[in-house]
């Protein structure tokens, strides 16, 4: 043995086992935190982590770990790293992996696997995680030889963080993580992926065509999606918007790409978007989509979507262009590079005076609205209160459902990296652990998890993390004793047959918080709300607020499924 190791040591290369190689590889990638949960198949990896530590966040469920990693990735812009054991550890990650895939968040997920000698024998804690995660990852690997590990780690981080970002799973059999590994050549392996060459630079002719189309437009509109945020193209977007006086709307995930208070911002578009934004889409003559994928919750009935518009679509993923909406001018590129190229074109700003006057009129005529209740606190009021107290500067995370839509409507964002929500997959239980990851990414920020009583109970065990790490996340449960959006749909489309959507008996969330040594507040009277919110949200400690809100409140306005954006219901004209 010594004979073979000697030459390596002369080169300054210490022999390592697979686990040590993995930890070293993570350090080389600049990984500053790991979210994970140990178990049998990853014991060697956790042992290596004990000897050569990287800060590790021990969630109380793998789903909590991966949602936290997603929150971290969204806020920091860096790749989130997750480790889980084989079998149940790995399968508990499936929801989070899918969520990251749908919302293009960069993650590298390491799963333990049973030893290669017993793979395929239904061994203890074995699951075919490579097979399971194939349709929900950007790419995945099972390490077959320890020599491949350094290359695979590099490739995994490269794939996760470039092009259209997404999750990559690396499955490591237990024996691979204990095998000795020595050669310098393999440790210095370069990324060589001939089948993966994302296009980031736009086609010049297409940019020219886009500029020409914008210049002659009478009713141009920009739809800015999460691609603007991923490409860090906020400045360029703002310049384009202001220089040409083009109104702009956002997808749910694109919120924050322009300030919520900007005079040319029309609010969010789509199923629960503003009337103005949806009418602007329905009537525009040029629609410039930057980094949005024309999701069905945005478009409504495709036959009625932007019927008069010439569509320009900028996306880093060519497969998104023309997938749902026919596109006249396709531009495959990174959003920042495409917008820079567009700004470099010399074209006259379109005359949008009349168009903007018309849209402003719509906003005055049909703004977001709710009917105040004398006795009960409305969820919309609660969110506006949170907005007031945090001055619009908090990082807001949410699950899916009514609270999410109200937060999207009423928490007007000042900052681009302050909105963390589960869009594509619509994952209950996402918001709270994502807030923990967001807080770890930005320790100085005020992080508010706005969640529903249903979603919170799916990952509530992560309160333990707030307790242990004194992470000052503020958990606000908008508690309507119901699965609110399910209940709203049952009310609207199923003749008020509330099948399994009402949860009249709730745990005492304040006591639950106290059980974890976290200060709990309850807002049960409308008049106390402001005072309690102020004290809780401005505290430096983790807190939980059980905020009792009106049970039968609905999210309006709304585009019913199958309807066009121009057919909104629940629009109130002032």
């Amino acid at each position: 043995m010594e004979m073979t190791l000697e030459p390596m040591e002369q080169q300054g290369i210490q022999p390592m086992d697979g686990s040590a190689v993995l930890i070293q590889g993570l350090k080389d990638q600049g990984v500053e935190v790991i979210f994970g949960y140990p178990g049998g198949a990853v014991l060697p990896i956790y042992d290596a982590l004990y000897k050569d530590p990287i800060p590790h966040v021990l969630a109380r469920h793998e789903q909590g770990a991966i949602h936290a990693a997603e929150g971290y990735a969204r806020v920091s812009g860096k790749t989130g790293v997750v480790i889980a054991t084989s079998g149940p550890g790995a399968t508990n990650l499936v929801t989070g992996i899918t969520d990251a895939m749908m919302d293009s968040l960069p993650l590298v997920v390491f799963t333990g696997q049973v030893a290669s000698t017993v793979i395929g024998t239904d061994a203890f804690q074995e699951a075919d995680i490579v097979g399971i995660t194939q349709p929900i990852t950007k790419h995945n690997y099972q390490v077959q030889k320890v020599e491949d590990l350094p290359r695979i780690i590099k490739e995994a981080f490269h794939i996760a963080s470039t092009g259209r970002r997404g999750p990559v799973v690396v499955d490591i059999p237990k024996d691979i993580s204990t095998k000795m590994f020595v050669t310098a050549e393999e440790r210095n392996a370069e990324v060589n992926l001939p089948g993966y060459q994302p296009t980031t630079t736009p086609n010049y002719l297409q940019i020219q065509k886009a500029a020409e189309a914008i210049a002659v437009a009478k009713k141009p509109l920009i739809l800015a999606g999460a691609g603007v945020l991923h490409g860090q193209a906020m400045e360029e977007l703002k310049t384009l918007v202001e220089k040409n006086r083009i109104p702009v709307t956002n997808t749910l995930l694109g919120l924050g790409s322009i300030e919520g208070s900007h005079e040319l911002f029309l609010g969010m578009a789509g199923m629960h978007g503003t009337y103005t934004a949806n009418m602007a889409i329905s009537e525009c003559d040029v629609l410039l989509n930057i980094g949005a994928r024309f999701d069905d919750r945005l478009t409504g009935n495709l036959n009625m979507f932007a019927p008069n518009a010439k569509v320009i679509h900028i996306d880093i993923d060519p497969a998104e262009i023309g997938k749902n909406v026919p596109t006249e001018i396709p531009i495959v590129a990174d959003s920042k590079e495409a917008l820079k190229a567009l700004l470099n074109q010399e074209f006259e700003a379109p005359d949008t005076g009349e168009w903007l006057t018309y849209l402003n009129g719509l906003t005055k005529e049909a703004p977001l609205w709710y009917n105040l209740d004398e006795h009960e606190l409305l969820p919309q009021e609660a969110i506006q209160m949170i907005h007031r107290i945090t001055e619009g500067n908090a990082i807001v995370t949410t699950d899916v459902g009514q609270h999410q839509m109200w937060a999207a409507q009423y928490y007007s964002l000042n900052n681009p990296d302050h909105w963390v929500t589960s869009g594509g997959l619509g994952t209950m239980g996402f918001g709270f652990p994502a807030a923990i990851g967001a807080q770890i990414a930005k320790p100085e920020a005020r992080v508010v998890a706005i969640v529903g009583d249903g979603g919170f109970q799916m990952t509530a065990q992560e309160l333990s993390l707030l307790q242990e790490m004194r992470i000052p996340v503020k958990v606000v449960i908008l508690n309507n004793c119901a699965l609110g959006m399910v209940r709203q749909w049952q009310q609207t489309f199923y003749d008020e047959r509330y099948s399994q959507s009402l949860i009249p008996v709730q745990p005492d969330f304040v006591k639950l918080a106290e059980a974890y040594d976290i200060k709990g507040y309850r807002v049960s009277k409308k008049e106390d709300a402001e005072k309690i919110f102020k004290e809780a949200l401005l505290s430096d400690e983790p807190v939980l607020i059980d905020c009792r809100v009106k049970m039968l409140e609905n999210v309006y306005p709304m585009v019913a499924p199958g309807k066009g954006l121009n057919e909104m219901i629940g629009v109130k004209r002032g």
């Binding site: 194939q134 349709p135 992926l193 001939p194 089948g195 060519p318 262009i321 023309g322």
Partner: protein
């Protein structure tokens, strides 16, 4: 419409699964699929025949395949000048008194006898899938005991017609 798609991939374990899984997820029905090595080491080529009704769906299929990390090249060669071949093995009931009749039937197809027993003969026939269909139809009345087809494999001819249609994104 019937589309012929070739996919060049890096020859790694799981690649076939990845590609067929993608087709399944997006609800494409594969009529036939063949895979084998190419002239390059570590590279394999797949040939698919799929039925897709509209052009946007086929464009989407090509783009989704292209997105796979292990996929090097995707070509929809349906409208190109191509060579396409399939091989079939057909075991037909063939008692001695019909053998000469059978021989005259198979001759125009240039099928060959690769095994023969007392009452059955196994033919090998290669050619376009249509030719193989025709062959099978012809021998069916005699009684087919067993049939195995490889699925079509194809690539483009050296000389192409001018103005081969392109995907809309490339226009």
């Amino acid at each position: 419409m019937r589309r012929v798609i070739t996919v060049t991939v890096i020859n790694q374990s799981g690649v076939l699964n990845r590609v067929t899984g993608l087709l399944m997820k997006r609800q494409f029905n594969i009529e036939s699929i063949t895979v084998g090595h190419t002239e390059q080491p570590n590279m394999s080529k797949m040939t698919f025949i799929v039925h897709v009704e509209d052009e946007r769906k086929i464009e989407q299929l090509v783009k989704q395949l292209q997105k796979q990390i292990d996929v090097l090249k995707v070509n929809d060669i349906t409208e190109k000048a191509i060579v396409m071949r399939e091989l079939a093995l057909v075991k037909v009931v063939s008692p001695p008194h019909v053998r000469s009749e059978m021989n005259s039937i198979i001759e125009p197809f240039r099928a060959t006898v690769i095994d023969s027993g007392k009452n059955v003969v196994t033919y090998q026939v290669t050619g376009s899938p249509e030719k193989i269909e025709a062959f099978i139809d012809l021998v069916k009345p005699y009684g087919i005991k067993e049939l195995a087809r490889t699925g079509a494999t194809a690539f483009t001819r050296e000389i192409q017609k001018i103005n081969s249609p392109q995907l809309s994104i490339l226009k």
